[in-house]
Symmetry: D2
Subunit: 149 residues, 4 copies
């Protein structure tokens, strides 16, 4: 995926506590970076989490994560977290996320979230304002899978 | 403090993700070890957190932590987390905690918790069953500061 | 995959610091559980990391991770981390990992590691003793992809 | 300590993964915030860690940490990490650190670091350029304990 398909980018700096004995970021911490990126994405599209998103007893839950490690981030590196929504379904949607240090792609991956009732965990239709905000924000239209309205 | 003044000990193993570029456990992670030790201490004295402890709208909150670093824990080390209650007040109490690798003292410190209303954060008297459990369990009687009954 | 295809299982307890505001383990921490499981797997097959594995200037690096979240782990849960090697290539191999609470599958996923030179990050053939240890240990023979000997 | 005695301040945002079931930052994570603040302090005074500081086989090691919890940081809060050097000795020095949310003091504490040989852990004189940088930067002169030149 070309980097210019991402309208959203958030920059963060690698912390000392995130780097392991190999001198590189521990593989699990990239999901923390994904999460920080997603938080700022929600804020940027005008749907800050959780207040604008969780409602009617439903909330978003991680359903699937994929991470490919191309190169390693090191201590003190400035990392660009690029986030975009690539697929919208009835109750779930998918983020594509890429981490760059300058022009170098370090890590790429995806996060699928499902909207579900907090008690029963039964899936629930995505809030329409969230879907609208995704569509308005993205310059490359997300794939639509299933009826979303 | 002599190690034999601790009746309670919990052993854990240092994880890869807890070790930094210097090859030693990041200084903040010892508070996670303290917390794991305290959790198991509560279980051992018959007062598992939070169900047996938090009640009447009150809960325990960390008030103060002190940590002295004598030597470093390394990857894969087995660490004994020794915990005892050394002081009981009206609404607060203090843990003394020491971490050993075999006979070597690595880290020592203390944690003070206060019982407080979860909404107002106003301090509240410690639950009597918790205080009783501390007194019954400890072989070296905790110092009593302020009227506790 | 059936649970009885795993010869290896390591049990850990969910820590307070790993649970988020939703009352469930933060999605990234499952990779820490994967890592703890993998560490103990290496120990069990007689190839403790890193001493028995990293050599000749090469080391193992995470190449890809996949995680599917079926149900949530909560504070204080005891989690069985089941680990097996399902594929062995020339320079890389793949773990299949499943997390259970009792009989309930919570999380499943995979981790692909590649053996690579620590300086150049050029891939290097897997150490033969490691491959042999995988083959000896697993009761369900790993798939072999590419010539490994 | 008055907030205007701090020349240095670094702002960070509380991450989702740092907040626990009580809805507040886990007590150990404040040491990560301390560490991020200290990293940026070193950069600001022209002595970026580790390149400008660790030398001659010596490095800085945490010796003691103290943390007082006055109020809780919550998810998404913007936190000002205020850092200053309050004491300089021969081989060690002390940071005073205060965390604010707006004008509200949340957490205060101190970190003592010692310069020590990385192999023997024997204490070593602080690098003169580091001590000079501390003195030049701080508007409230650090206390001097022991001969430092």
């Amino acid at each position: 995926m070309a980097r210019d398909e991402f309208r959203f980018r958030h920059t963060l700096r690698v912390r000392w506590s995130e780097v392991d004995k190999q001198g590189i970021v521990f593989n699990g911490h990239y999901l923390t970076y994904f999460d920080v990126g997603v938080t700022e994405y929600y804020r940027t599209i005008g749907m800050p989490y959780p207040n604008a998103i969780a409602s009617d007893g439903a909330d978003l839950y991680a359903k699937k994560a994929e991470i490919e490690y191309h190169a390693s981030a090191a201590y003190d590196d400035l990392i660009d977290v690029c986030v975009r929504v690539v697929r919208i379904g009835r109750s779930s949607f998918e983020f594509r996320i890429e981490l760059y240090r300058g022009d170098e792609l370090l890590v790429s991956g995806s996060l699928i979230y499902v909207n579900a009732n907090s008690e029963t965990r039964k899936s629930a239709q995505l809030p329409a304002p969230l879907v609208d905000a995704f569509r308005r924000f993205e310059s490359v239209a997300p794939e639509e899978s299933g009826a979303t309205r």
